[in-house]
Symmetry: C2
């Protein structure tokens, strides 16, 4: 029997609040620190490991977090979710994105079909389509092969697929699975579509229109933009476009598209990278086998999220520590810092995933909560960030918990030895150094050069960023955020906060405004 | 006589703390709101305007802020800075980046030369060099024209120039001043350099090595990476590289470079976009006239920063409101949200500019301060962000002040009419709608659809993003951050917080570690 309680009503949370806080600089010093780094590590899928040695936890705090996980029924709630309960209570929907990559529990039937079968079928259809495009069986109107794929989508139809594409582009080129370049059009700013269209050979481009509802303003506007460009180039737009949408959308059975691939209402936009939304563009760019490996990595990580023991469940542990930092220690933001240029847009994707899921003030019953929920998420790749905002992270007045990611090996493998080390070694040396610098600090009589330390971080360490390890990494954060939503007792799967702006923008465009909105409209020449 | 006092010691600050907070939703409603939008606007240079109608200020708060500006001697401190006082007390340096674009006050002599003359000479040298490259008078070893410029730099030598390049790329193409594509190598991750080198025609590329000290680890490593690539292609590296550095650096007089252009110790990396650091790459990419317009825009905005009246000084007003939000209202972060795809990396640049300048815990005398200083800065372009993290901004438990930027006209001018409006109108309608949605909210019986409002924002509105308006926009934020540093009484021009990580990374690479650092080094295979 599952009960949905607010965080501050849980006995175990009240106990957690009473635990003594850990002196991070002290516990990370000397051989004790070395032991922590060895022991405070949870294996993840695909050779990754979640290391939380530099978090402000000890056996006492971990025991309290374990109790919290139990009392909040995190495992039971996850089970309910993947077994098809209506966990998205706001929109009254199932939450099935895990099923795009595996069958974790019972078969789930909805809309008259077995959903796992449905998602697998879509993936197969995409694979067949992509293979035909790569083989030159599906071509442009002149019978020539497509050389570029352009995704038209915004939010979850853009950030996730774009971040995953960038994460694997160099890997695919190095491993001879690169099929075609991908570009992305998202913003309603006309310069976005115009610049992308100016940069591609439209005659050899295939466009993927992605909108679940088939009604997203930006996406439909950009579709028209693209159709104009195709028409102006004397091309038949319907020979250049495919759609990824829901079966019930106006796009689903339109003759305007070469093909349509489906997702459904049970896949939130920000959780759709492993559905047809990511599948179409990634399969066209890298081949369906690469996309399948990505799914396998995500599925393998999902299985770890089932573990009841928080020391064997990296997602649950990460979630619990995050809530401890946010609600007990009072830290308002979190930085995501991948030491991998390929993950340059991964923080932007996590920013959506996290802030749109858990940036809520009411619980799942619509009652205001008396505690803070989702933090601000931001980040850039290291070492770049070190030469930018790390100053504040080290010496600012607020403490910002940090999530590092690092890999032992680069993707391309070209490297150079300077001062007896490779660039890859320098990259890894920097992330190791940062963790210890943040945790331990360094005293200096000159207070301007003093580092207080006590700034917590965790790191996910992997062998290499591959399709499979990327899938595991993505699933880690998706599931972490889900568990945090359970802890905060919010609905992580709706986004009512985006509605008001849409309504008012329509009013502006219809010139049905007054007061401040009318004057702003005038100032902006609308 | 200037006195440097901590913020909380100022009488006017204590008075500010006692002012009654403004009910933003109430004051922005109805015709009162319309009047605010008309009146709460400060003209900026180059047709821009700073509108603060949706900030939590009224006549009482503004009067208190005006007193604070006076007591904190903001104008006098700015005067001292541009007249050549050693304002960067930590590093004992002058702060002269304003002089790269104009002469605000007295002539300043340092290192035996007039500094304005020195910066102008560098700009001229760059202009001549760039013109010769464009005319085919300076070529590669085979006598062929260069077609691509690649900047090698990190931090301030990367983020600012890259953001400015992206901001003007489409404008330059549209206005026939586009000379060559620019690429950027920054990260020590070997995949960064390898991927950029794989994407360019090295035989026709000119590389700009940017390092003030000539000792930046990442930059020197990437230089070797590039030299290897040139050598492997059978090319003479010295015919493909120029340096931007200080006159005293090892790079200054090396035969390894076609030419060297200089900045000096009085230009902080994050304030160097208007110096040779931005000048070389932007002049090569767009022509020196475009770079000159960019400087003129910045200089025009600098002049407005001289005004004592805060209602005629957009930078000072913005700074004061920011400190009020941070220290009195207690908001820990700020989002920068340009409604312009061309400004996609402008928030990342501001993130460095702001967080590296004011993320400090000690005052300019090295004494700990008893109040919070620089906030976390993050952001992405609109409308993209609306489909991502805006959920938290609208309905999260923390209030995040917002800085919008919007332009009446697009850069490329290609557009499409859907449902009776252009994409540009939709873009502008969205930013107008967001300001009002955040400020006023909307009540709903369903608390999940309820918007509390009271979330403050300001907007900078311009005609179009051009070289000149971009310069003004950049100077606005540079000067705002400077004024905030004065208010917090911190040294905004050093960055001691980046040192410890560098020291520890060297130790890791030399295998001179113990404890936690040794184990992390092992885990990362260093």
């Amino acid at each position: 029997m599952i009960t949905w309680n607010n965080l501050d009503k849980l006995t175990s949370y009240q106990e957690l609040e009473k635990t003594e806080s850990v002196d991070l600089a002290a516990v990370m010093a000397g051989e004790n620190g070395a032991e922590r780094v060895k022991n405070y590590s949870v294996p993840m899928a695909e050779g990754l490991a979640y290391n939380y040695a530099a978090k402000k936890v000890d056996d006492t705090v971990l025991a309290a977090l374990e109790k919290l996980a139990e009392e909040a029924q995190l495992t039971e709630k996850f089970e309910a979710l993947y077994n098809g309960e209506v966990v998205n209570t706001g929109e009254k929907r199932l939450v099935l994105h895990h099923m795009t990559r595996g069958q974790l529990g019972d078969a789930v039937e909805a809309d008259g079909v077995d959903k796992r079968t449905f998602y697998v079928e879509q993936q197969k259809k995409i694979a067949e389509f992509a293979n035909k495009v790569h083989a030159g069986e599906i071509t442009n109107g002149a019978g020539e092969k497509f050389t570029t794929v352009v995704q038209i989508g915004i939010g979850g139809s853009d950030l996730g697929p774009r971040a995953m594409y960038l994460a694997l582009e160099n890997w695919a080129k190095k491993n001879d699975t690169f099929k075609m370049e991908a570009k992305f059009i998202s913003n309603v700013d006309p310069d976005d579509a115009a610049a992308v269209l100016n940069s591609v050979d439209v005659a050899h481009s295939i466009f993927v229109l992605v909108s679940k509802s088939g009604t997203t303003l930006e996406t439909l506007t950009n579709e028209s933009f693209v159709k104009d460009a195709l028409k102006n180039a004397g091309l038949d737009a319907s020979k250049h476009m495919i759609a990824v949408t829901s079966e019930t959308s106006p796009l689903a059975k339109s003759d305007d598209y070469l093909a349509a691939f489906f997702m459904d209402d049970y896949i939130g936009g920000r959780f759709s990278s492993t559905s047809a939304v990511g599948g179409a563009v990634l399969s066209l760019a890298f081949g369906p086998e690469v996309f399948a490996q990505f799914l396998d990595g995500a599925a393998a990580e999902d299985k770890l999220s089932l573990n009841k023991n928080i020391k064997e469940n990296p997602e649950m542990l990460d979630a619990l520590i995050g809530v401890y930092e946010r609600n007990v220690l009072g830290y308002p933001s979190t930085a995501v810092l991948p030491y991998s240029q390929a993950l340059s847009r991964f923080p932007a994707h996590l920013q959506q995933l996290d802030m749109e899921s858990n940036g809520k003030s009411v619980n799942r019953f619509g009652e205001p909560v008396d505690y803070v929920t989702g933090p601000v998420i931001f980040g850039e790749p290291g070492t770049n960030g070190q030469h930018s905002f790390y100053q504040l992270l080290h010496q600012g007045t607020d403490i910002v918990p940090l999530q590092f990611v690092g890999f032992k090996n680069s993707q391309i493998g070209t490297d150079v030895v300077i001062q007896d080390s490779t660039s890859q070694q320098k990259l890894c040396a920097n992330v190791a150094a940062q963790i210890v610098a943040f945790a331990c600090g360094k005293e200096d009589e000159n207070r301007n050069k003093n580092f207080e330390g006590g700034r917590p971080s965790s790191i996910i360490i992997g062998e290499q960023l591959t399709p499979a390890s990327l899938g595991a990494l993505l699933a880690h954060f998706e599931n972490k955020i889900m568990f945090q939503g359970f802890l905060w007792n919010v609905n992580s799967f709706d986004q009512e906060g985006v509605q008001l702006g849409k309504v008012l923008a329509k009013r502006v465009l219809a010139h049905e405004t007054d007061g401040a909105l009318r004057v702003f409209s005038d100032l902006l020449n609308i």
